[in-house]
């Protein structure tokens, strides 16, 4: 795993215990970008980013992620 992905993975685990939905959204957005060549991985991380944007109540961001998911075939 690339060091940058390892770092994101560490942060995802650290954030797992709860809270900080905006940061969790950002981490998954970064992962979706970094893994953009793998459509399955991209859809997976966009899904999580979308969920955490909804949880945070960041509606414009959620709408953007919803569009991205739809374009990626995840909706």
């Amino acid at each position: 795993m690339k060091p940058v992905l390892e770092e994101l993975d560490r942060e995802m685990r650290a954030l797992h215990e709860g809270g900080a939905p905006i940061r969790r959204c950002e981490v998954h957005e970064q992962a979706a970008d970094l893994l953009g060549t793998d459509p399955n991985a991209r859809r997976f991380h966009l899904t999580h980013a979308f969920v955490f944007a909804l949880e945070a109540g960041d509606w414009p961001r959620a709408a953007g992620l919803e569009r991205a998911l739809r374009e990626a075939g995840g909706l």
């Binding site: 939905p21 991985a41 999580h48 969920v51 109540g57 960041d58 509606w59």
Partner: protein
């Protein structure tokens, strides 16, 4: 083991004229099967109080409530309205919210992260069609939102009819709304943490209701009231099928020699000295005074154990929130807590008394116990007598 035929026969006896009637049968205080029957017929198929609006003051606040074993979720939506849902995810029935919190966005199930907006709509179903695929032909989001539970609010008390089969809330609340018409649409202001207290009582909820219904016990159980609120200053409240209770003609609060709470505006002269204490069946106490209002909800947490949640409200934001009135609020709450605590030995004593073999439910004093008999009669009717 509960004998259905003897229970029905004993319930019929409750419904006779007060001079011939007996109280509710012992099984309803001691036997699990009777408790379950009562839970369903009284608390789930009818209206009952489940909380207070002041517990979810801000948009996004969500309060999980265990209502006689049914998980409910009280939510303040973004428009400031109240919503009541079953507190479960439509996917696998997981409890959605475990403790009170605020949701800035959606409510996310902690199990598979299905997401619901505060209006109950299913907003996201992550990976439902496989990894990264968020739709499934078998999941219709429009039909899979949170299950809304019929609710109503009166003077900040939140009521629910879990089964959805009771009469409209307006019909349920109408008698007490009419009785308290001068208070019902007034602005009320919760008095803050010092105006909220709870009692844990080792007694069946019905014993606490019947004690609240009548003034007969006042000189014996609350001797401090005798100096300014004598037994003969009280009268009965009696609305069959809805509520009963007591009123006093000599309400005259003297918490402080100089400071007093402001009165509700526009009250008629009657309320200069009157105060009334209604037990709205099954589990709500509504108590009106010219300068404050308190409401209590009985939460049956078992057949022999009840939590009593008491909240006091005032007539203006200043009297409810300012430091100037804080000592007065504390004193008022302390006095009410003292009075209600004085009742505990009675209700717990009656519960212990229900262990007597062959107790026939007792008899009623027609002149003094008619509000209590009305309550027993209502329960008996709800249970099919």
């Amino acid at each position: 083991m509960l004998d259905d035929q003897s229970l029905i026969s004993e319930l019929a006896r409750v419904r006779r004229p007060i001079g011939e009637a007996h109280g509710l049968p012992n099984a309803l205080y001691t036997e699990a099967q009777a408790h379950e029957y009562e839970r369903r017929r009284v608390f789930l198929e009818g209206w009952a109080s489940i909380g207070f609006g002041k517990d979810v003051p801000n948009p996004g606040d969500a309060l999980p409530i265990d209502h006689v074993g049914v998980p409910l979720l009280l939510v303040r939506d973004h428009e400031g309205g109240l919503k009541l849902y079953q507190n479960i995810c439509r996917h696998r029935g997981m409890i959605l919210v475990q403790e009170k919190r605020n949701f800035g966005g959606v409510i996310r199930c902690p199990y598979h992260s299905w997401c619901y907006s505060l209006d109950g709509k299913l907003r996201a179903t992550p990976h439902v069609g496989g990894p990264g695929l968020n739709t499934s032909p078998s999941i219709d989001r429009d039909k899979t939102g949170l299950v809304e539970v019929p609710m109503g609010v009166f003077m900040d008390v939140v009521f629910a009819n879990v089964s959805g089969t009771a009469e409209p809330f307006e019909d349920y609340i109408r008698p007490v709304r009419e009785r308290f018409a001068e208070f019902a649409d007034q602005q009320i202001h919760f008095g803050g943490p010092e105006s909220s207290f709870g009692l844990e009582i080792n007694a069946n909820w019905k014993l606490i209701v019947e004690n609240n219904c009548e003034s007969y016990h006042l000189p014996w159980v609350h001797p401090g009231l005798n100096s300014y609120s004598r037994l003969e200053d009280h009268y009965h409240l009696e609305v069959p099928g809805s509520f009963s209770g007591q009123g006093t003609l000599v309400y005259n609060p003297q918490l402080d020699p100089e400071l007093r709470f402001p009165d509700f505006p526009g009250l008629s002269d009657k309320w200069d000295t009157a105060a009334e204490y209604a037990s709205l069946y099954p589990n709500t106490f509504l108590s009106v005074h010219r300068d404050h209002f308190w409401a209590a909800r009985l939460e049956p947490v078992g057949q022999r154990r009840t939590l009593e949640h008491v909240n006091i409200y005032y007539t203006t934001a200043e009297s409810a929130e300012s430091d100037t009135y804080r000592p007065l609020r504390e004193k008022n709450a302390s006095q009410w807590c003292g009075v209600l605590t004085e009742d505990v030995f009675v209700t717990e004593g009656m519960q212990k008394g229900r262990g007597a073999l062959g107790f026939d439910g007792g008899v009623f004093a027609p002149a003094m116990d008619s509000p209590t008999h009305l309550f027993h009669d209502w329960v008996a009717a709800k249970l099919g007598a």
